[in-house]
Symmetry: none
Subunit: 221 residues, 2 copies
């Protein structure tokens, strides 16, 4: 009985390539491919794969979100994350979301196959870099950098902060978001105190350095 694998990646080229490669393995069978997290949820219902190979950066619904929802609906689902990022902002959330494997795209393909096999048996296999991160996290007592800070921002506050990083004035933001300037000022005041900075310029600098909004950079124009 082969291991039935479902692929989730917005890079169709990668998707196609992975499919051909994995199908050359005698104990693995790719039974489905989708290009974003949202489709993955429905597809899982339909195909009930043994293992889901999931990219992280995707439009519509990213891999962390998809993994979380998938595991909520199907606690037994085995998700292996396959991505290019090995920083703590990706590794930790993914594993907390319930991923049972984490591999980087620059890993030896055979290693990826091993991870899939391990996952199908319920074992966990991580890329060395991911493991390192976990250990660092443990040793530092799990206090992260500055705990969350920006994750405490509400959605609207994030919207406003994003506008600030575009150099907009409160008035412009108000007109862009279809709210009054008063409201914008409220949001600005609140987000400034949450970020612990003193003015919008510092907020913009912070947002850019932490590159929040890496995702929104497209929709800006």
């Amino acid at each position: 009985m082969k291991i039935r694998v479902m692929l989730v990646d917005d890079h169709l080229v990668v998707l196609r390539g992975l499919k051909f490669f994995l199908n050359t393995q005698r104990d693995i069978e790719v039974i489905g491919e989708v290009e974003n997290g949202e489709k993955a949820l429905n597809a899982y219902e339909k195909w009930k794969p043994d293992v889901v190979l999931m990219d992280l950066m995707m439009p519509v619904m990213d891999g962390v979100e998809a993994t979380k929802k998938l595991r909520e609906a199907h606690p037994g689902a085995k998700v292996v994350v396959l991505t290019s990022y090995s920083d703590q902002d990706h590794v930790i959330p993914a594993l907390q979301a319930g991923a049972v494997g984490y591999q980087l795209k620059d890993v030896d393909p055979d290693e990826l196959v091993k991870t899939i096999r391990a996952a199908s048996k319920g074992e966990k296999l991580l890329h060395p870099k991911a493991t390192n991160l976990l250990l660092e996290q443990m040793s530092s007592g799990g206090e992260k950098k500055e705990p969350d800070v920006h994750f405490k921002l509400t959605n609207r506050e994030k919207d406003v902060l994003f506008q600030i990083t575009l150099g907009k004035s409160n008035k412009e933001i108000a007109s862009d978001l279809y709210i009054t300037e008063k409201t914008v000022k409220t949001h600005v005041s609140n987000l400034l105190s949450k970020l612990q900075v003193h003015d919008r310029t510092q907020a913009a600098i912070y947002a850019m350095k932490e590159n929040l909004f890496a995702d929104r950079s497209e929709e800006s124009k």
Copy 2:
């Protein structure tokens, strides 16, 4: 006679997958794979492929650099860029470096195959997004972004701008530079009009995006 293709990508998984996929095409043959730009140069000498499929983001030597050097040594080399980025900071440099094709990883695999076939005949095929960027570039008169602008800033104005990128207020800047706040305001006014922006936040954003002060970033503390 098959089209002989060489792959350059630091993601071994993608590399392996692409190889299997492309080899299923009856007129394409993958004759070599390397994982960074530097190795690509030597590999090209050895294999003399018809087409090089090149990733952009790689360690050691990135795709733009590799393409440039490859085309210098072998003007007839046909490089197709395959990447995830479609912004002008990647597209333009890659094409200027001499790439004859530009595709995104989320493109339909068949489209990628077409691009390779076109490249082998000396034809150029770009992803729609890349084409759009080119056209925008043309219509804006080809004057690139805004030439220099910031180089017209006096030394003192640069000092002040740098302080702004640190999030300082006029008062703080004044005390740091041992001048009065009035003077700082003068400098700020002048540099804002030279940069053609309306407030200090936009100035800070501009400076960070253009990363002026890459040199000073150390002395900041």
